[in-house]
Symmetry: C2
Subunit: 338 residues, 2 copies
């Protein structure tokens, strides 16, 4: 029998949005938190990650393999927290753990569903939520980036894109190009992140923008967006180009309505292009290698991490909507202050 | 100075078709054939290959890297012939050579643009034009087929598809499914080629057809078609599935008009699918390995090669149109009888 010792605020899905979610689709609740059962841990969350990909489970996109969040279910997402009670010998009390039980202040989790991380490795625990293993995986094992190649990144001022562009340079790219959503963001990725050039994807025609930014063609496209930008990228790719398909922001911004995709794929055959969908979760074996290189780049000052910290669980839904609408540059995390 | 010694019939492109070509877009001519200059050979063609991919250069599809055939230019395509005069020490008179100078009876070619093949290896020289290195490459290095997996092949009764399905079985696939253009072809690939099942892609809805044929999902899709079938295949793919993009028959049948492509690629990300365009020409290093295995499979009687022989250069345009319209099963070659 478990004894109820605490309560925790959490955010439920209140209604299935028709299109982009709005604030009434979320509900702040207070729930009882039991003691951990054997094999479980109780986590006090410190920071949680906001990620446009969550909209797929919120909206119940039909073709994704992950189940939609149910109405009345507490939303899950990446988070980092401290173990405050443990009933598992492998995860001690006091451990800092990365897990997928966000959107609540306290979480009960199976010990084997959390990853213990080194509390000393980074300046803030929040850093673990934003330091782009996904960007590293996409550029290395997925796209096979080679010295001197031209890399194009979409949503380049975003959490993943801003790291993908910087990592591309550190991994030897010859030219790094960003597609962003405003002239201000274009200046940001050039001036602050060291991209060679950038353009506002609202300026048309898109394929002219892509070609002007990469006159010798694109070898690697790190795609966070899909849709019309993917089409333009394929037109601009060189023979043998690789596309790392990481995100579907075009569709998420459209409230889940499928976009037209890249259209006819004959150029993909004719130019022997590879498109590969991926997630960092399939490549956690690269985390130690990435961690080592990352700490060195940070120590050298050669990598910039832009983090937006939003205070308070109750502000998470609005921040997620702002994120999808392109109001941030860099990573967005929520600090759980209670 | 070269001395004109022979004339050769050849087929020129007479007009750029608007849509699918028609017979008046081709013109049979008689041209003078010079002696080979140093480094060249003179080839008497024996058989030439018909391939729907030729429509891309005939129609001048805008996004392909190969130049369109010019109006008045003799059309080129895969062919096999005998060297009747040589001005190059590496390619002797009498050699059997595979090359890209088809659609003419005699061809002058740079010696380094032809590949000398073993005249004794196969029952007929025509076999060299149809024995599917492309199918082998697509299943092995492109799609990474593993033991026990489910393989779906589109245009499965065609030259490449019929070999892809049979090779998939020989390479260890657990289930081999074919998409074809008629009930007769479905019976053919099941009864004659050993596919586990097949369906007529004209029956709708396509995604139901795909799912019913591969109830446990598709691991490898060998795509000769593109368009709506590619969309249905993506819906049916398992996590980690691979798609070898080999042909664009849907578009070629439509006279070059771009098809809608696979649509929204979110499922490709969510299921971590790889799509890869390829050509066998990038993988000629596999030809010796494939040749050895092929001869063994043929000796065992475990591989069936369906070949349609059309006699006479003058009949090539009509045969190409018939091929694109789906009137054949298996490979189509033209025998040059003069």
């Amino acid at each position: 029998m478990t004894t109820v010792t605490r309560t925790s605020r959490a955010i439920q899905l209140a209604a299935r949005p028709n299109g982009l979610p709005a604030l009434p689709d979320f509900r702040l609740i207070e729930e009882a938190v039991p003691d951990p059962a054997p094999g479980q841990v109780l986590i006090r969350n410190l920071y949680m990650s906001l990620d446009p990909g969550m909209l797929m489970q919120i909206g119940g996109y039909p073709e994704i393999p992950m189940p939609a969040f149910a109405i009345g279910e507490v939303i899950s997402g990446g988070a980092i927290g401290e173990v405050v009670a443990s009933a598992d010998q492998h995860v001690p009390e006091g451990a800092l753990v990365l897990h997928q039980h966000g959107w609540r202040e306290y979480a009960i989790a199976d010990a084997d569903s959390v990853r213990v991380v080194d509390a000393q490795a980074y300046p803030s625990p929040s850093t673990y939520l934003g330091f782009g293993l996904v960007a590293y995986v996409g550029l290395t094992v997925v796209a096979g980036l080679r010295e001197g190649e031209t890399v194009l990144v979409s949503s380049a001022a975003g959490a993943t894109g801003s790291l993908a562009g910087q990592l591309a340079r550190l991994l030897g790219a010859g030219r790094v190009v960003g597609s962003v959503g405003s002239p201000r963001k274009a200046r940001y990725v050039i001036d602050e992140l060291g991209f060679d050039t950038a353009f506002d994807y609202h300026d048309q025609p898109l394929s002219d923008q892509f070609r002007a930014a990469a006159p010798e063609g694109v070898d690697v496209y790190f795609d966070n967006v899909g849709g019309a930008q993917l089409r333009a990228a394929i037109e601009t790719m060189n023979v043998g180009g690789r596309i790392a398909l990481c995100g579907a922001l075009a569709r998420q911004r459209a409230g889940g309505t499928p976009d037209g995709g890249p259209g006819d794929l004959l150029p993909v055959i004719a130019k022997r292009i590879t498109l590969r969908g991926f997630t960092a979760l399939d490549h956690l074996d690269l985390a130690p290698e990435f961690g080592r290189r990352l700490r060195q780049w940070l120590a050298e000052g050669s990598l910039r991490h832009a983090e937006n910290v939003v205070d308070g669980l109750e502000n998470a839904p609005q921040a997620l909507l702002d994120l999808v609408r392109g109001r941030y540059t860099g990573k967005v995390v929520v600090r759980l202050t209670r």
